[in-house]
């Protein structure tokens, strides 16, 4: 009876996971399909992967997407980390006000954020790569702040004070003492920002102007004429790369993480 219940539970979870991955499987299959039709199987082929590398429009869009993703995530990480350190030192009231504003881009409807930014940009600059970059930084910063903040709260400040007492100056103590303690939060903020930027469509769509295309906006523009199968090939490649990276970072036993967990457990024990 207990065994049956357990099997049912696992079966349910498997169904949910199947639901989440069914369309992905479908897209991967299509990337190997030797037929332009989306419903019939025309045999296995690697053609689309070959053609992908000579399709300059798709490669341009990929470049824009990556430049936006890494650029906006990097800028957001710097501004957001400094911001979080500063916000934490604020008086309670200012702290609450700033954190409430920080939540706006996450809570507000994407379409409203996108349109508001667009209306603001057209007052003083042409829409283009820069306006999209600024928009991505804007919706990325909150993710950085929200993942750095908890690390700052766990921070052991007495080590920092000890370093200052022993003659370290402000910035040296920050780099040597504070930064290592909040590093994991900064990293997860960076990758969260990267994920959000690469997956964004709505805000890019409203702020991009003519001539700039990310993978998302390009796909959206192609819906009516039909998606090029090269796009399935590219998406499959991106997916596999991220899958491998995530697998390595999450499941290889890495010492640094174990040490971090160990110290966390010790702190909890106190």
């Amino acid at each position: 009876m207990v065994k049956l219940k357990k099997a049912l539970c696992k079966g349910y979870l498997a169904l949910i996971i199947a639901f989440l991955y069914l369309p992905i499987l479908m897209l991967i299959v299509l990337s190997f399909n030797n037929s332009r039709s989306r419903v019939t199987w025309g045999g296995f082929t690697l053609d689309w992967y070959v053609k992908l590398f000579s399709d300059s429009r798709i490669l341009d869009a990929l470049e824009t997407t990556l430049a936006l993703g890494f650029g906006s995530a990097a800028i957001a990480t710097i501004i957001g980390t400094l911001g979080a350190v500063g916000i934490q030192a604020m008086k309670k009231r200012n702290y609450q006000v700033v954190m409430a504003v920080t939540n706006i881009p996450i809570l507000n409807a994407e379409i409203v954020t996108g349109i508001a930014l667009m209306l603001w940009f057209v007052r003083f600059m042409p829409l283009g790569f820069t306006s999209v970059l600024i928009s991505h930084v804007t919706f990325n910063i909150p993710y950085v702040i929200l993942s750095v903040m908890p690390k700052l709260r766990q921070l052991n400040l007495s080590v920092y004070e000890a370093a200052r007492d022993l003659g370290a100056n402000n910035s040296y103590a920050f780099v040597k003492i504070i930064l290592p303690q909040i590093w994991s939060g900064i990293l997860s903020g960076f990758f969260m920002a990267l994920t959000m930027s690469m997956d964004d469509f709505v805000i890019t769509y409203f702020t991009k102007g003519a001539g700039v295309n990310t993978l998302s906006t390009m796909i959206y523009g192609e819906i009516r004429k039909g998606i090029k199968p090269q796009m399935y090939a590219l998406s499959t490649l991106i997916f596999v790369v991220i899958f491998v990276i995530l697998l390595i970072t999450n499941f290889l036993p890495d010492r640094e993480k174990q040490q971090a967990e160990q110290s966390l457990r010790e702190r909890k024990a106190y």
Binding site: L22, P23, V98, P105, S188, M192, F239, L246
Partner: protein
Amino acid sequence: MKRKYLSAPYLIWVVGFILLPLVTIAVSALMDKNGSFTLENILSIIDPINRQALLLSLGIAFGCTVICVLLAYPAAMVLKSLHLDKKGFAIFILILPMWMNFILRILAWQMILSNNGVLNLLLGKLGIGPLHISNSWVALMIGTVYDFLPFMILPIFNAISDIDEDTIEAARDLGAGSKAVFWKVILPLSAPGMVSGVIMVFVPAMTSFVIADILGGGKLQLIGNIIEQEFTKSMNWHAGSGLSISLMIFVLVSLAFTMKNDLKDKGTTVW
């Protein structure tokens, strides 16, 4: 140098790119084509076509949120019961799909649900169907639930995982059966996670326009579609701004019912 000055660049950013754009859209909403003050744009949300779109959006968002909670809660419980030594695995499984482009994934659903799609092919082999659900609200609902389900599972899973095992054991020791443990201990303690999940699902589900564009076949108009068309097709920016402001007010009001805890569960632990 004082520590709080480090936040200066961020505060400048907040004013320049969060607050001022919102002021701009509000100003644009309150103006007519000639630049004089009007409330017409904001009130146009109650025009029959817009009102119908708003109601459909609300219905889809409400249904999607309820279905997501019902699907997500058991899934989060099972994930927790697997006793993975690392939280990472569950989050990994849920975040990974986001790396396949979201529009492509919705297009894949269109292919799966279409009249001669994979679903009907499979049902046909079982002797059922064919079902005609493409371009209907059923397809739209499936796509919406699909897109936002991970954002419901994650916070609920985090909340359930954070419950101290000792609390559950204490309840058992004091004679609670597994039903009582669930209703009196686990459910109340995981409620904040559910609230985060509801916020993260309801608002985007109500305001999205891409899913309806693809799975509704142009027949189903959500309020997001109407706003998008004001900007891209009818080029009536003031009307679009007005509807956006009404939508924002609507969202804020519905959030006011559920808010009060900040969003700390947007899945950052996977990295």
